[in-house]
């Protein structure tokens, strides 16, 4: 059987070489399909990777706790505005919840920031030092305000990269004084640019200050009251546990007996990530689906050519049968021929796909990642197509009647 298969392989190569143009066109069909699969997979994986990274840069273990008025009592207010959540809640969470690494309060308001003859409108955020840790920001220049600043409600601020660029251009903002409303604030540091944003907001267009300073100089709020607490779990995996702990602590502190009607809402990045993955997963599935369709079309091309080949070589099949070829021998001969065509298409398609990926990465700067198993899958798929689409023509050849085949002109 091995000897037959080897000789069939030789016959197959010779037969492919015999009609070069025809073989080339058939191979092209498979080539395009395989190249499409390879490129689309790389593109999809690249995009997904980028999405995951940008979510991680927001802090994938971040938990948002949004205050809202209790639902049962009177008219409902806007989420985040009403409610009874305080900085003390945040401190309690940090103290009691074992899976929470940091908690920062957050109040914010849009405000006009003025420096010399320039001004910009940005989101002013009142928070604490841990904000950088929770949101995964890095300082670019200067330093963060101190705990003393927080206690004394000093007029200091830290700027996002976009805000700094808008106000200062090429001037170093650290040490400069900006005006917010009627109060001067000293810029103590600037944040490193994050650059990517999924929700549409620019993570670099913001101005941070101690929450006490915010309440005193930007927006007058009851002492200790916050709209939003931002917590970070000790790890991505402990996010769910941290969420449960936070919920329990807040329910207890706010004396809420009806668990279904709390005066806060908790969001995690995990939910967001899941949604994103779902969207991109579906998109990639669609693209791969289209690529696979083109591969199937290529397979039909192979089948077509194999049927022509069987008809052309009917007499040869008759001769082979007369001198002792069994049905299986004929079958293997034509299956191998289809397999050779498809494998050549698969190999060249992979090469073309890889070249195209390289070209796109270099010229368009796209993020493309080809997982090695996708490469193996593409080759295996092309071989499978050879067997599947070669099967019918091969069986037709094997089932020919030797007498009729011998007298075929």
């Amino acid at each position: 059987m091995l000897a037959t298969a080897l000789s069939a392989l030789r016959i197959a190569f010779r037969s492919v070489m015999r009609s070069k143009l025809r073989a080339l066109l058939t191979i092209l069909g498979i080539l395009i399909g395989v190249a499409a699969v390879v490129i689309v997979t790389a593109l999809g994986t690249g995009v997904q990777d980028k999405v995951v990274k940008s979510i991680q840069s927001l802090g994938s273990n971040t938990i948002l706790i949004i205050s809202r008025p209790a639902q049962r009592s009177g008219a409902r207010g806007k989420a985040g505005v009403g409610g009874r959540m305080t900085e003390a809640d945040g401190q309690a969470i940090l103290r009691e919840a074992t899976s929470v690494a940091a908690v920062v309060p957050m109040v914010s308001a849009p405000a006009q920031v003025v420096f010399g003859d320039r001004n910009t409108s940005t989101a002013v955020i009142g928070t604490t030092r841990d904000y950088l840790k929770v949101r995964s920001y890095e300082l670019e220049r200067g330093e963060m305000w101190t705990e003393t600043d927080e206690r004394l409600k000093t007029k200091v601020c830290v700027m996002g990269a976009t805000t700094a660029a808008n106000l200062f251009g090429s001037v170093d903002p650290v040490g400069q004084i900006v005006r917010i409303g009627k109060y001067p604030f000293r810029v103590v540091g600037t944040l490193e640019r994050k650059g990517q944003s999924l929700g549409g907001e620019d993570p670099d267009d913001r101005l941070l200050m101690p929450v006490g300073s915010f309440r005193a100089r930007v927006l007058h709020l009851p002492a200790g009251r916050v709209w939003l607490l931002m917590a970070s779990a000790t790890d991505v995996d402990t996010t769910a546990r941290a969420e449960a702990q936070i919920r329990a602590i807040l329910l207890q502190r706010h004396n809420i007996t009806d668990e279904d009607d709390p005066d806060f809402v908790i969001h995690t990045q995990a939910e967001f990530m899941q949604l994103q993955e779902q969207i991109f997963g579906t998109l990639q599935l669609l693209l791969v689906g289209i690529a696979v369709v083109s591969l199937v079309v290529g397979g039909i091309g192979v089948m077509n050519i194999m049927l022509v080949s069987v008809t052309e070589r009917t007499r040869e099949i008759g001769i082979r049968m007369a001198i002792g070829a069994r049905e299986g021998d004929i079958m293997i001969q034509f299956l191998i021929e289809a397999l050779v065509l498809c494998s050549l298409g698969g190999l060249s398609g992979t090469v073309v796909g890889l070249a195209a990926i390289q070209a796109m990465v270099v010229s368009l700067g796209w993020n493309m990642i080809l997982p090695p198993q996708a490469l193996i899958a593409a080759l295996a798929t092309s071989a499978t197509i050879g067997v599947v689409f070669g099967f019918f023509p091969a069986r037709r050849a094997a089932r020919l009647d030797p007498i009729e085949a011998l007298h075929h002109e």
Partner: protein, 255 residues
């Protein structure tokens, strides 16, 4: 003498639309080892049908056919393929060599289906090609060979498996008289020297005269079955033609 072909009441029907054509009717034929049998008859007499059944390419509709003791009628397509490979060497009118394939590879082919190793196959095929006088033509493809040479390659292919039976279907039909005589002389020599059983189908009486026994077919029946005590010696005729001037007629399939 062992009988190699035993046919008892073999019949073959073909459905041709609503009409059933009885191509072969009640054939009783026994051929012993070492015989040289010619089957003659006009076209439509059933000799091709008889040939296909003897060659295990077809199965009888009724009756039993035993080839070297094997009951052919009860065997599957694959089993008959194995029987053909083991017991029969085929020689056809149109040579039926694989195009664009060298003489050596053509002769090797039956051994491929026996699963023999390439080295053995090649050596054996070379030896048999030498026996039919084509030692210097092993790497030629059929279109580089004359009709006579092509038929010699076909005979080598038939002999390479060392079969007990050689089945020749109009082996000289495409050849001129002189080349025909050469091919017939080769067959006679193989029959004489190796006591190879040969069954040859022809419609030329000249060719039939070379056999030791002539079976005449007509309308599906075996009409006569005659032994010839002194068959024509094709070798002698070929030798005589050698001394005469070269015939001017073109050889089909020639160089």
């Amino acid at each position: 003498m062992e009988p190699i072909i035993e046919m008892v009441g073999v019949e073959k029907d073909y459905a041709s639309g609503p009409v059933v054509v009885r191509a072969l009717i009640d054939a009783h034929i026994t051929v012993n080892e070492g015989e040289f049998v010619a089957i003659v008859g006009p076209s439509g007499s059933g000799k091709s049908t008889l040939m296909n059944i003897i060659g295990c390419l077809d199965r009888p509709s009724r009756g039993t056919y035993r080839l070297a003791g094997y009951d052919v009628g009860s065997r599957s397509n694959n089993a008959r393929a194995v029987l053909r490979n083991r017991l029969i060497g085929f020689v056809f009118q149109g040579f039926n060599l694989l195009p664009r394939t060298t003489a050596l590879e053509n002769v090797e082919l039956p051994l491929v289906y026996r699963g023999q190793r390439a080295k053995h196959r090649r050596a054996h095929a070379r030896a048999v090609l030498a026996q039919v006088g084509l030692a210097d033509r092993v790497d030629h493809t059929p279109n580089q060979l004359s009709g006579g040479q092509q038929q010699r390659v076909a005979i080598a292919r038939a002999l390479v498996t060392d079969p007990p039976l050689l089945l020749a279907d109009e082996p000289t039909g495409n050849l001129d008289t002189r080349t025909s005589d050469e091919i017939l002389a080769l067959l006679q020599r193989l029959n004489r020297e190796r006591s190879l059983t040969i069954v040859l189908v022809t419609h030329e009486s000249d060719v039939a005269l070379c056999a030791s026994r002539v079976i005449t077919m007509r309308d599906g029946h075996v009409r006569s079955d005659v032994r010839q005590s002194s068959p024509r010696d094709a070798g002698e005729a070929a030798a005589r033609a050698q001394s005469e001037p070269e015939p001017t007629s073109a050889r089909p399939g020639g160089e």
